[in-house]
């Protein structure tokens, strides 16, 4: 098929409404327009709820009731598909527009071999006069995305996350589509894997000349990879940014400025017009100097033994890690998934016990060391109160049937024996400290009535309620929108600055570690590859692995700096 020079996707003035049987009509997309040319990578940015997913579904013509297209046109190549019915659309699907979904985990039918999905898709569109050899084509596609064709005979659950996403990419390219729509294709993947998937997309685009739309809330990825970025805000495309221009002269719309600016701030760059989140900069508050050690970890090892039939296998999840956590200091524990971060957190939370090595807790009064694994009685109670946790997913960390006020007053009653009224007053104070003001408005709410960022603030407030000496924060911002991440980081920072709380910040993201932490520990396959003051580790990494992690961070502003 000769490639026509025209755009592969033209969306003009598209509006989508949700009209549920009960409840008010919602305008999810308002007069949005977008154009994609062959070979072009166009980003679609915006936070959750901005309408970008609805927009994508409308473009794919997969919108389900109660969603309705109320205006505008969608053209796949030259064909107006706005009002085509399912039967007329079917032959066009996947050959005009294909897609790669967000969770690579579930995009393949779990009960059949990967090969079957390819065969189904190819057979559904095959020309009976010139049948395609689906076997051969599938193998060819696997080669294209650098996956061994032997994996065609595996089931989806036998593939790793990164590999699965490559397979999805291969599947999207099965019919040589003219446009591929990527919906958050790398969310949930490691930075290193994420980079390799994006590089692959760019490489294939150059070769196959398909246009691409990349939907993500990760501004860094977009600025680094996309040619243009359409910024969506409350259902509207508020700005169609040229990427090169975004990093030089900067965006114009306030929301785009916020998106680009909050990312640039993490990199230590400035964007014209960006003033930062509303919370006052806590960096200016001098940090308390007295750094009493709270927890000392020495030569921690954890070996998991797994029985496979008659054989036993060992996995060394943590191999001789030592560090000290102090009051008023933030230590970041950085590594990819599977590096042993969570195992360390589980040992600190006393869910798990080390195979060898010691974790010692130094008590508040006399700083005597106690072996954490063998804590009993009063010291165990002190440890529980003084070491608190903030979980990754604020959606499941709060009991959905209890109000915020109740969730916060429980630890106050338990640890400080406050009465009901006193506990509620204190809970209100805590909410104000984490930036939920006026607190009265939030006390009576249930978790589902809060946004993700607000929930995480409540989780932080709950950890704070016990007045702990140490907070273990396990990927506290990973499941939040990028524009909220900066704010939550500021809240965490103020905990340390204002309350002298120590923190173990667990993350796969070196960038946020750099902004928050005093010390950084880089973990790989259970062993420390590098540790030291944050500025040194980030500024002058010694280990190759640290450098690899740093390189995987999108840094669009580097172009500006070097130019």
């Amino acid at each position: 098929m000769p490639t026509t020079p025209g755009p592969v996707l033209t969306v003009e003035d598209l509006s989508v409404q949700y009209r549920p049987a009960l409840g008010p009509v919602v305008d999810a997309v308002r007069h949005a327009s977008l154009r994609v040319d062959p070979g072009e990578l166009v980003g679609l940015a915006g936070e959750s709820g901005s309408g970008k997913t609805t927009f994508a579904q409308a473009v794919l013509r997969l919108l389900r009731r109660p969603g309705h297209v109320t205006g505008g046109t969608i053209r796949w190549g030259d064909t107006d598909v706005t009002d085509l019915d399912d039967d007329a659309l079917r032959p066009l699907r996947w050959s005009a527009v294909a897609t790669v979904f967000q969770s690579s985990m579930n995009a393949l039918n779990p009960v059949v071999r990967v090969r079957r999905v390819f065969e189904d898709v190819i057979a559904a569109h095959d020309d009976p006069d010139r049948p395609t050899d689906a076997r051969e084509r599938a193998a060819e596609l696997f080669d294209l995305v650098s996956v061994d064709p032997r994996f065609l005979d595996r089931y989806p659950h036998e593939l790793s996350g990164g590999m699965r996403q490559r397979v999805n990419l291969a599947l999207a390219l099965a019919l040589r589509p003219r446009l591929v729509l990527f919906d958050e294709p790398t969310t949930g993947l490691d930075v290193v894997v994420q980079k390799s998937v994006l590089d692959k997309i760019r490489e294939l685009q150059a070769r196959e000349r398909f246009g691409a739309v990349l939907i993500t809330h990760d501004m860094g990825t977009l600025l680094d990879n996309a040619d243009r970025v359409a910024v969506m805000y409350e259902g509207e495309v508020v700005e169609d940014l040229n990427t090169a221009q975004a990093v030089t002269t900067g965006p114009r719309h306030p929301y785009s400025i916020h998106l680009v600016g909050s990312y640039a701030e993490l990199l230590g760059e400035r964007v014209p017009g960006y003033t930062g989140p509303e919370i006052a900069e806590p960096a200016e508050v001098p940090r308390p100097v007295a750094h009493d050690p709270v927890v000392q970890v020495e030569d921690l090892r954890r070996r998991f033994t797994r029985r496979r039939g008659w054989r036993t296998e060992h996995v060394d999840a943590v191999q001789g890690v030592s560090f000290t956590l102090r009051e008023g200091a933030v230590t970041a524990l950085v590594g990819q998934s599977g590096s042993g971060k969570s195992t360390i957190a589980r040992v600190l939370t006393r869910i798990d016990v080390p195979t060898s090595g010691t974790v010692r807790y130094l008590d508040q009064e006399q700083h005597r060391p106690h072996d954490v694994a063998a804590l009993r009685g009063a010291v165990a109670a002190e440890y529980r109160r003084n070491v608190q946790y903030v979980f990754q997913d604020p959606y499941s960390a709060l009991n959905p049937t209890l109000t915020v006020g109740y969730a916060l007053s429980r630890p106050l009653a338990n640890y400080h024996h406050l009465g009901r009224r006193a506990a509620l007053e204190r809970a209100a104070d805590l909410l104000e400290q984490v930036g939920l003001t006026p607190a009265g408005r939030y006390l009576g709410r249930l978790p589902h009535q809060l946004s993700g960022g607000q929930r995480q603030r409540v989780v932080i407030a709950r950890a704070l309620a016990a007045e702990p000496r140490l907070v273990v924060a396990d990927e506290p911002i990973a499941s939040l929108d990028v524009s909220i991440r900066a704010e939550i980081l500021e809240v965490l920072q103020s905990l340390v600055a204002d309350h002298g709380v120590g923190m173990l910040y667990i993350t796969h993201d070196l960038l946020s570690a750099a902004t928050l932490a005093d010390d950084v520990l880089v973990l790989r396959e259970g062993a420390l590859v590098e540790s030291g003051p944050a500025a040194e580790v980030i500024g002058d990494p010694q280990a190759d692995y640290t450098r690899e992690l740093l390189d995987a961070i999108p840094h669009p502003f580097a172009r500006r700096t070097s130019a």
């Binding site: 794919l60 997969l62 399912d86 659309l89 079917r90 032959p91 066009l92 699907r93 996947w94 527009v97 294909a98 897609t99 979904f101 967000q102 969770s103 579930n106 995009a107 393949l108 039918n109 779990p110 009960v111 059949v112 071999r113 999905v117 189904d120 898709v121 559904a124 569109h125 089931y155 659950h157 036998e158 599947l171 496979r308 039939g309």
Partner: protein, 328 residues
């Protein structure tokens, strides 16, 4: 392979537990079965202790040590000796059950298989057209019918089809035809079995309908369904090969579990229709305090349900590859 070994191990273990409970429970009950039997045989009046002792010995309730008795019980069980029925004295329990079991197995087995097919099909259809009028009828109707008592349904069915319309015989397993594989006898048996089957069929598919519908509605929200739609696969392929295929997995697990419920339900239904199966036998055994028979029926029911579960366990990895992996 390890998966199959483990499942076989579980099967043997639960079977052993069931057999042992079957031995223990009667011994914990108050009252002496031998005495009851003698009372039954001799009618009213004085009981001769020697007679009781003789009957006890005959039934295998010796005075020995419990462990010895247990060993003996296991040995008897292995040789297929489950004792003598009181009610059908002097026939061995095994023979009595042997006559009744095929009737129930056919009745319950057939209704179970038909219910499963019908239930999953209706459930899948309701989910595929969710929020349609068809879905609403199926969902609300199922909830309503599912709460009806099967005895009550049985009586209605009996009244309408047997007495008022007179289309089907009201009781028994067969009428005046000679047993054998003749066309007239088979037709007779089918005619007699139809009403009990119909009664069971009213409620038996409900569980399958509801669980199939609900899991399939969930599956329809999965990414691979959206992707199949975006890829332009035919609706039939998506509905059957992608959605129903995945939704079926938990329903299959429910198949064996519901078999036990159905076996229990058949006690009442068989009594209503005077059907010569295990259910009616169980009713008789209970009424007559026929302990050997009750014990044997209980054992047979447990073995059937356990075996059905075992078979499903063995089949499951074939339909869900993820179980194979967990198995390895």
């Amino acid at each position: 392979m390890a998966y199959y070994l483990r499942k076989t191990g579980y099967f043997v273990l639960t079977l052993w537990a069931a057999v042992t409970l079957n031995f223990v429970i009667p011994r914990l009950q108050p009252g002496d079965p031998a005495e009851i039997m003698v009372r039954q045989l001799s009618g009213q009046g004085e009981i001769d202790p020697a007679q009781v002792a003789a009957v006890r010995a005959m039934l295998g309730y010796g005075d020995e040590n419990v462990l010895v008795a247990y060993g003996q019980y296991l040995r008897q069980l292995a040789s297929g000796d489950l004792g003598i029925s009181f009610t059908y004295f002097p026939f061995p329990v095994v023979d009595v059950i042997g006559k009744a079991l095929p009737w129930t197995l056919v009745l319950v087995g057939l209704t179970q298989v038909v219910s499963f097919l019908l239930g999953t099909l209706l459930g899948a259809l309701a989910a595929w057209r969710r929020n349609s009028r068809f879905d609403a009828t199926i969902s609300v109707g199922s909830t309503f019918v599912g709460n009806l008592q099967s005895v009550w349904i049985g009586l209605i069915v009996l009244f309408v089809f047997a007495y008022t319309l007179g289309w089907f015989p009201a009781s028994g397993g067969y009428g005046y035809t000679d047993p054998g594989w003749t066309a007239s006898h088979v037709a007779d048996v089918v005619a007699h079995g139809f009403l009990p089957a119909l009664t069971l069929m009213v409620t038996a598919p409900i569980g399958f309908i509801l669980s199939m519908r609900n899991t399939m509605v969930q599956v329809l929200g999965e990414d691979y369904i959206r992707l199949a739609g975006a890829a332009g696969l035919r609706e039939r392929t998506v509905a059957l090969g992608y959605a129903a295929r995945n939704a079926l997995l938990p329903v299959v697990t429910g198949f064996a579990l519901s078999l036990g419920v159905l076996m229990g339900g058949s006690i009442l239904i068989e009594s209503v229709f005077d059907y010569p199966g295990m259910g009616r036998l169980m009713g008789e055994a209970t009424a007559n305090r026929d302990f050997p028979l009750m014990q044997a029926i209980l054992l047979a029911t447990i073995v059937i349900v356990l075996t059905a579960n075992f078979v499903v366990d063995l089949i499951y990895p074939l339909i869900d590859p993820r179980a194979r992996r967990a198995a390895a």
